[in-house]
């Protein structure tokens, strides 16, 4: 069984191995044992409520219960920019027009911004190569939204994710070469690493503070602003399906997009419903449900802060008021018969028993003109 649970101290080696194989590009989780240890400690302090929930770092592990090993990780930082200054560029437009001359020019412009300060960030998604596919990435990503939904008061109304921007195989970023390097006099990877280590005062010291007019940058640099690295395209697609939008904020180094969503608009949150747990001893008969629904999986989570758990069950376990779980699954989730659990579909299968009524409203929608 695969189950989501809070990260633990003994996950360090598994985490280190994953960080190592991820290589560059994941600046929030560099392959640095001491730093990872610090992150785990912060996460433990958060779940054990030794730090304010609003200042917490929520790291979730995907555990393979057979292997008894963490095979993936994902996280939420409750607030960014609390101890350090959090920078983005905001892609804005400057319009200059002269009616007298009939000239009207729009100049895309980057403004240095701290506007994401105090916002919750979803971050640090890593999945072991051995466990790619089968919706495990989705589970790791979307379990966070179930947590966000359950404990909204600890998070900001809006959450965001920074997506890795465009760079080549050698780690060269076109935007960095055209802009950052002019001011920092170092390689992108070095700057990115320094920034990832939380050492951000050099940004305040070296960063250009005045707006950057994009037409002054070479085409190659301009074209990557707001674009993601090819490796990150699937993650972006997943977040977009979840309701995240690009709203003009980009990374100051590589121009990667920030995508954001209001918690109440996130699909997982919108589609979540409650059910009462029933424990069953036998598998449901196949003919109880239609074939299509049979294949889809449902995420189920308990309502615990300290011992938060999520796993998936087949959709045909879900009834109108109840959900029937096997005893091992119920134990893994730490719930008993009669407890309330929360569920959401794992994949966007178009239709599943829990949600069919909602979709019906749209069935009559015809295209007109």
């Amino acid at each position: 069984m695969l189950i989501i649970r809070p990260l633990q101290d003994n996950d360090l080696e598994a985490l280190y191995a994953m960080a190592q194989s991820a290589g560059k590009g994941l600046t929030t989780l560099p392959a640095d044992r001491e730093l990872l240890q610090r992150k785990i400690r912060h996460a433990r302090d958060t779940f054990d409520q030794r730090c304010a929930p609003e200042a917490g770092l929520y790291l979730f592990a995907l555990e393979d219960t057979e292997l008894q090993r963490c095979v993936g990780i994902s996280g939420i930082q409750a607030r960014v920019g609390l101890d350090e200054v959090f920078y983005n560029y905001r892609l804005s437009v400057t319009v200059n027009a002269s009616r007298e001359l009939g000239v009207h020019v729009r100049t895309p412009t980057l403004h240095l911004s701290n506007d994401m300060t105090d916002t919750s960030e979803i971050c640090s998604l890593l999945l072991s190569d051995s466990h790619r596919g089968g919706g495990n990435g989705l589970l790791l990503s979307r379990c966070r939204f179930m947590f966000l939904d359950q404990f909204r008061r600890h998070f900001s109304e809006k959450v965001f994710a920074e997506m890795r921007g465009v760079s080549d195989k050698e780690g060269r970023s076109p935007l960095w070469d055209a802009l950052g390097r002019q001011f920092f006099d170092m390689d992108f990877t070095e700057a990115d690493m320094l920034s990832g280590l939380g050492n951000k005062s050099f940004i305040a010291e070296l960063m250009p503070k005045f707006p950057i007019y994009l037409p002054m940058l070479p085409d190659e640099a301009r074209s990557v602003i707001g674009r993601v690295h090819d490796n990150t395209a699937p993650a972006l697609k997943m977040l977009q399906a979840e309701g995240f939008n690009f709203n003009g904020m980009v990374d100051i180094f590589d121009g990667g997009p920030v995508v954001e969503a209001f918690v109440h608009n996130i699909r997982t949150v919108r589609e979540s419903t409650d059910r009462i747990v029933m424990i069953r001893s036998i598998k449901p008969a196949v003919d109880q449900v239609d074939e299509q629904a049979d294949r889809s999986e449902i995420m189920v989570c308990n309502g615990s802060f300290q011992n938060f758990r999520v796993t998936t069950v087949p959709a045909n376990c879900v009834g109108i008021e109840t959900i029937s779980l096997s005893q091992p699954v119920a134990s893994a989730l730490g719930v008993e018969a009669g407890d309330r659990v929360r569920l959401a579909p794992l994949k966007d299968t178009g239709r599943n028993p829990t949600y069919s009524r909602r979709d019906a409203d749209h069935a009559g929608r015809s295209s007109r003109g």
Binding site: N96, T107, Q182, M216
Partner: protein, 341 residues
């Protein structure tokens, strides 16, 4: 003889021909259309009329002078003074300044050059519109035309500001490209350099307020060609530049917003022509020998300036050949001002 005198409506055709014979760059202070130029001459005529009045330093007077060959009556050059740059509107420049971006922790210290939009030279007296028949470049007539303006300032000092500035044409390649414009202005004004330059001469400067990017510009983001052009004078302007340097003009932090050419600055009262000029009474000299010098006389619309040889200037008596009297339209005993060439 060569004579500098106020421009008259009748000089229109000659000035137009001159402006057409020269490159495009002039246009920013000298329009190339009949109507606009006629208006400019008319403005100058009014300025010379008002120059004796109660005009305060707030009102802009825009003087236009021509260089005439008195033997032929040909007009071979033109030059102007705006008593107050911007004439009530902002006078736009970039001011080049440096910020130091230093990180103590990283042990890094970078000098970051920045161009700030600036109006700091607004209201300074501006020498402008200098245009001369290329054949005369570097000649005595060339010097006369340029410096006659300073003789006029010396004789009408209260009309002018304590600082005088001159814009020098910036770098332009042989095929007409202006690297600074191509790297910066073109993106915002959406027109070629020549068009912008023409508008700058012909219209109100409102279009600059409307179209110029309001924020400072990082030099490092300009193209290398544009960076190289910052504060560089066009090679054609060498003679003018050197003459102005001899006068005491110096390039400072200010650049032209279109081509990044240098703006030369000087304290008006320190200009060589003004410091070295002497007033005296006109007397005849029996010979053509003597030191060459600029001599001017007459006020306002009667102002005239020429080059002549001068024999003595002791005791306030200035002895020059009588033909110079005629050229200036003066008689013995009239007040004149001289300055050595």
């Amino acid at each position: 003889m060569w004579l500098v005198r106020p421009a008259q409506p009748g000089d229109l055709k000659a000035i137009l021909a001159l402006a057409e014979g020269i490159g495009p760059r002039l246009s920013s202070t000298l329009p190339r259309k009949d109507e606009a130029l006629a208006a400019k001459i008319e403005q100058s005529v009014r300025a010379f009329q008002n120059a004796g009045g109660t005009t305060g330093p707030d009102e802009t007077l825009r003087f236009l002078f021509v260089l005439e060959n008195t033997d032929t009556g040909d007009v071979r050059g033109v030059a102007g003074i705006d008593s107050s740059a911007g004439h009530g509107q902002p006078f736009y420049n970039y001011r080049k300044d440096a910020l130091i971006h230093a990180s103590h922790e990283l042990g890094v210290s970078n000098r970051v050059d920045v161009l700030y939009p600036s109006h700091a030279l607004t209201g300074h007296t501006l020498l402008c519109a200098f245009t001369i028949d290329p054949e005369l470049k570097g000649s005595e007539a060339f010097e006369l035309l340029s410096r006659a303006r300073l003789m006029f300032i010396a004789s009408h000092r209260p009309l002018f500001s304590d600082h005088t500035v001159v814009e020098i044409q910036g770098v332009q390649t042989e095929n007409g490209e202006v690297p600074f414009w191509d790297s910066l202005g073109r993106h915002f004004f959406n027109m070629d350099f020549e068009t912008a330059d023409q508008h700058s001469g012909a219209l109100s400067k409102t279009f600059i307020a409307e179209l110029m990017p309001p924020n400072p510009i990082y030099v490092t983001l300009l193209t290398p060609e544009a960076q190289a052009a910052l504060g560089q004078a066009h090679e054609k302007t060498r003679a003018t530049y050197e003459l102005l340097q001899r006068e005491g003009f110096q390039a400072g932090a200010y650049l032209d917003i279109f081509d990044a050419g240098p703006v030369l600055e000087a304290r008006t009262d320190s200009l060589k022509t003004i410091v070295s000029s002497l007033s005296g009474k006109l007397h005849g000299s029996p010979t053509d020998d003597g030191e060459r010098c600029l001599i001017s006389g007459g006020i306002q619309a009667q102002f005239r300036c020429t080059v002549t040889s001068m024999q003595e200037a002791l005791t306030g008596d200035i002895k020059v050949p009588v033909k110079a009297w005629h050229c200036l339209g003066l008689d013995a005993g009239d007040s004149v001002r001289v300055s050595p060439c």
